[in-house]
């Protein structure tokens, strides 16, 4: 019918079970676009209403406050961001040796998150721009990370450390280096220099080589 499928997919994680009216989706779409462009604080509800083709009151029928509207965007985005770690099959996949090497795991993660970033870029922008200013979002991130991401990630790292594949440095450090290397590419690629001419495949290859060489265990 319309081309807001990506939005409805994003909202899979919203709690409210799929009951979104046309106008409500229009509101969310407009809000994501405008928050991404000008920021939450600089975007007025009247502007959102206008862009969504909706009366201002309709926004407040669905969201008690402007901040509620923000959270309705940011919470699903956070959950989609760490979606691989929320999936039940995920840890299993890794430990039933579907990935023989840490590099295979990193590659799978990369491809998966690359597709995600391309698809939801505006919502991701909103998330990272506003997290600095809103305690609720910061707390959400901390909770989700410690509850659903950290342990699984740490187990994977330890697994490959025991296999002697990667250096015996603290798992926190391995996680940090892995995440910032991948996120550093995405940030440069999509936010800082989106207009530069990128050869994504080649750059992924170089970056993963860099990461693996950096983490690989040196023979004693």
């Amino acid at each position: 019918m319309n081309e807001e499928q990506w939005l409805e997919e994003l909202l899979k994680f919203s709690g409210e079970d799929g009951k979104f009216s046309e106008k409500q989706l229009k509101i969310l779409e407009a809000a994501i676009e405008m928050f991404a462009e000008k920021g939450y604080a600089a975007t007025s509800t009247s502007e959102i209403a206008k862009r969504a083709g909706v009366a201002e009151g309709t926004i407040f029928r669905h969201y008690k406050t402007k901040k509620d509207l923000l959270l309705a965007i940011v919470t699903p985005t956070l959950l989609q961001s760490v979606a691989p770690f929320l999936a039940k099959e995920f840890a299993k996949e890794v430990f039933e040796h579907q990935y023989e090497h840490y590099e295979d795991f990193v590659r799978a993660l990369w491809k998966n998150r690359y597709a995600f970033v391309k698809k939801y870029l505006p919502a991701i922008r909103v998330f990272w721009q506003e997290i600095a200013f809103h305690d609720e979002i910061q707390k959400q991130l901390k909770t989700v990370f410690t509850l659903h991401v950290y342990d699984k990630f740490a187990n994977i790292v330890r697994h490959f450390q025991e296999k002697g594949e990667i250096e015996d440095i603290p798992v926190e450090t391995v996680i940090r280096l892995t995440v910032t290397t991948i996120a550093g590419f995405f940030a440069t690629r999509f936010i800082i220099m989106p207009d530069y001419v990128w050869d994504d495949e080649a750059e992924m290859e170089r970056t993963i080589q860099f990461l693996m060489n950096g983490l690989r265990k040196k023979d004693a």
Copy 2:
């Protein structure tokens, strides 16, 4: 007299030659604090005036608009951020082999920028939070980077590639990996997880080892 020396040092790069009244410094200090906490758009000039202990009109005596006040903070911060590359001695230092290895250069850069980040953290926060929303800041960054940073950095990288120290991958990629590795640490250390218990020296050591192993030329 007061403890705003850091501010006056930041403003060395402001163009207006050191002529800052007491009240003007108070305004800048208050603005940096509040912009860092709540963001530019969510901070009102009346709040800034109140925190600075100044009448609201005084702000507009010194800065025609609120955005001018923002730029008076952001521009010096940008310039201080890339200060090592602005210094004349810098390129010389590198090419007269004051640094024998790329690692020495990275170490020098790290220590220097670590001190900088610790000192000016709130101003840096403002810079990175607002760059997303203001074209003028984006343009400034692009100009400064291409004009003063990129060429020097690229020459250094090429120098050590010719020496056979680091892998023959595009200089842009080497720069990106170096910068995001260092910046990734600073972001995690000071912004994302400032409350975590950090052993800064050890973490620097691990990160630099990671970086050098990642970039080191593999013998054919």
